[in-house]
């Protein structure tokens, strides 16, 4: 198997991360925001695996496993909250969720 230079794989990870960030900032639907966070976490995991592969060590993969664990836990709670929100508000538009803010801001 041809080795893949680390720089390039990390660049791919960085691109995926940026795409996730764009998604997070652009989308107003909570579900899409959660998806975007998954993309970012996945990109970070990819970066770890890349680095682990570069160092020929299992640590990167181990870290990836923990990242996936955390992503699962977070998604579970996030989706539970989405269900709650859906029953409270008619929309999943996050910009509509502004009950919490300064009392008198302009």
């Amino acid at each position: 198997m041809n080795p893949i230079p680390m720089e390039q794989s990390l660049m791919v990870a960085a691109m995926l991360f940026s795409l996730g960030l764009i998604g997070l900032l652009v989308r107003r639907n909570v579900i899409f925001m959660l998806i975007s966070i998954e993309i970012m976490l996945n990109a970070a995991g990819l970066a770890f695996v890349v680095a682990g592969s570069h160092w020929q060590a299992a640590d990167g993969q181990v870290m990836f496993l923990f990242i996936i664990t955390m992503a699962a836990a977070e998604v579970a709670i996030g989706l539970a909250l989405v269900l709650r929100l859906q029953s409270d508000l008619p929309t999943l538009d996050v910009d509509a969720m502004d009950q919490l803010k300064g009392g008198d801001d302009a």
């Binding site: 680390m6 990390l10 990870a13 960085a14 991360f17 996730g20 960030l21 997070l24 909570v30 925001m33 959660l34 966070i37 970012m40 976490l41 990109a43 970070a44 995991g45 970066a47 770890f48 890349v50 680095a51 682990g52 570069h54 160092w55 060590a57 640590d59 990167g60 181990v62 870290m63 923990f66 990242i67 955390m70 836990a73 977070e74 709670i77 996030g78 909250l81 989405v82 709650r84 929100l85 409270d88 996050v94 969720m97 009950q99 919490l100 803010k101 300064g102 009392g103 008198d104």
Partner: protein, 498 residues
């Protein structure tokens, strides 16, 4: 894992086991009092195990954790804070008809995360500690299911924390790519050998996003007021103290390993963040009428103050950081404790109006609140003053003139809003004839609603919070007058750091 490892980890193990034990208990029988007792007992036992752990310290539980005096000191601090939060939570939850028992599982798990974080010596433990803490807090802030704000608060915190975690993990990956190790010590040694940090520097910068988010420094601060306001008061107290304290302990440990100038860009960033936080936090709090939000903004500024001592990069600075965090814990817990005790089953006492005339209705609580606010403002004879003094001294010693100047400026602004609340508490309680004469009437649209009568009605403070608050009061003033013993203790605890 050998016996020594287990002893060194005993606080962690006890907290974790208590969480599991509570789950078992819940599956047998739901009983709020029993569950709370078990949780508090677990925390107390964990605290009691710290001297045992200290006997084997410093002990490196390879490769993940470090059980040294520093970690144990912060563990004790976090456990004590959780204990206080637990005491406050019991009566808070007791007044509300929710499913209350799971809360304690989450409280213990979050504490566990904090304990892992302060002992973390490795990216894996850092990450896991942080995430256990975060995930538990996601749920805790949204715990009050019947509250219309709960879900909103929860999702906001979750998404922002998730984002910041993603940044942090990506940063870690970059650092790992550069150094090939996940452990702090070797990592630092490795970087020292290199001519420049290479990818590790952007990596650390991205990690700062995660750190900054947890610490709520500008510009990662914007979640704070919302989460403080929307979360149940004891949870707010927890977020304000344990979560931030644990993260700061980690930050200190991580960067204590680096001495070279290569890390200077990171320090510069932190300096800028500190200055921005001190100024923005105080400005934001200036005319805020919601007390929980006010404390949120002020906490932004406080973390900025602590960063000043952190930037000193000396063991003196480490002591100042630690002492400041202790003082901040005590004052913040006392302030939120008072809010928690004042809140009743229906509402939370978080409006400025709720505090009007408190001094004349519930003098003890008002006095404690005043002491807590003065301590936060850094008025002499409170522990906050000694802490701020130590921080400034550390900053001045390291010739950090700009941050110290920002600190002085921020404190000057800060005193105003703390005293504003104090004055409100001293005002009379008939809002009908002096609705426009509030001592610090602002031109903002002040709510002229009457305070919630239930809040002002003198009632007996339940024994749990009463105990917690009296302990806090003793420390609040005691450490302000006689801080030397604690300072010496801190000195011996953090000496192993550098």
């Amino acid at each position: 894992m050998n016996t020594t490892d287990l002893i060194a980890l005993s606080p962690l193990l006890i907290v974790g086991l208590s969480a599991v034990a509570i789950l078992l208990l819940i599956s047998l029988r739901r009983n709020h009092r029993a569950v709370a007792t078990l949780a508090l007992g677990g925390l107390a036992l964990a605290m009691a195990s710290i001297p045992q752990a200290a006997a084997v310290a410093p002990h490196h539980i390879a490769p993940l954790m470090m059980a040294d005096g520093y970690a144990l000191f912060y563990s004790a601090l976090l456990l004590a804070a959780s204990f206080v939060v637990g005491l406050l939570s019991f009566d808070y939850l007791e007044q509300r008809g929710e499913q209350r028992e799971e809360y304690y599982v989450l409280l213990l798990l979050a504490t566990l995360g904090g304990l892992v974080l302060v002992g973390a010596n490795h990216f894996v433990s850092l990450f896991l500690g942080l995430e256990i803490l975060s995930v538990a807090i996601y749920v805790m802030v949204a715990y009050a299911r019947s509250s219309p704000l709960a879900a909103e608060t929860g999702i906001k915190y979750l998404i922002l924390a998730g984002t910041s975690s993603a940044f942090m993990v990506f940063g870690m990956a970059l650092v790992y790519a550069q150094t090939g190790t996940l452990e702090f010590g070797p990592m630092a040694a490795q970087l020292m050998q290199m001519e420049d940090f290479g990818l590790a520097l952007p990596g650390m910068a991205m990690m700062l996003v995660g750190v900054g988010f947890k610490l709520a420094v500008v510009p990662f601060h914007m979640w704070t007021p919302e989460v403080y306001q929307g979360a149940p008061v004891p949870v707010t107290a927890f977020v304000a103290t344990v979560s931030k304290g644990a993260m700061f302990a980690l930050l200190l440990r991580f960067f204590a390993a680096f001495e070279a100038d290569e890390a200077q860009p990171i320090m510069n960033i932190l300096g800028l963040l500190a200055i921005a936080s001190m100024l923005a936090g105080n400005l934001l709090a200036l005319l805020e009428d919601n007390v929980k939000r006010l404390l949120a903004y002020s906490s932004i500024a406080h973390l900025g103050y602590v960063l000043v001592a952190f930037l000193a990069e000396s063991s003196f600075g480490d002591e100042a950081v630690t002492f400041y965090l202790v003082a901040y814990f005590i004052s913040t817990l006392a302030a939120f404790g008072v809010i928690s005790v004042l809140s009743d089953g229906k509402s939370e006492a978080d409006r400025m109006e709720d505090f009007r005339g408190l001094y004349w209705r519930r003098p003890m609580l008002a006095t404690l609140m005043t002491a807590a606010l003065l301590s936060l403002a850094g008025i002499p004879l409170t522990t906050g003053f000694v802490a701020k003094f130590a921080v400034v001294a550390a900053g001045v010693k390291a010739a950090l003139w700009v941050p110290v100047f920002a600190l002085a400026l921020g404190s000057a602004i800060g005193l105003y809003y703390y005293l504003r609340l104090v004055v409100v508490m001293l005002s009379p309680v008939n809002p009908t004839d002096d609705s426009n004469s509030e001592a610090t009437a602002t031109d903002d649209a002040m709510s002229t609603r009457a305070p919630n009568p239930a809040i002002l009605r003198p009632k007996k403070v339940p024994i749990g919070p009463a105990f917690a608050l009296s302990i806090l009061a003793i420390f609040l003033l005691g450490l302000g007058v006689l801080p030397t013993p604690l300072m010496d203790f801190i000195k011996s605890s953090v000496s192993e750091l550098r």
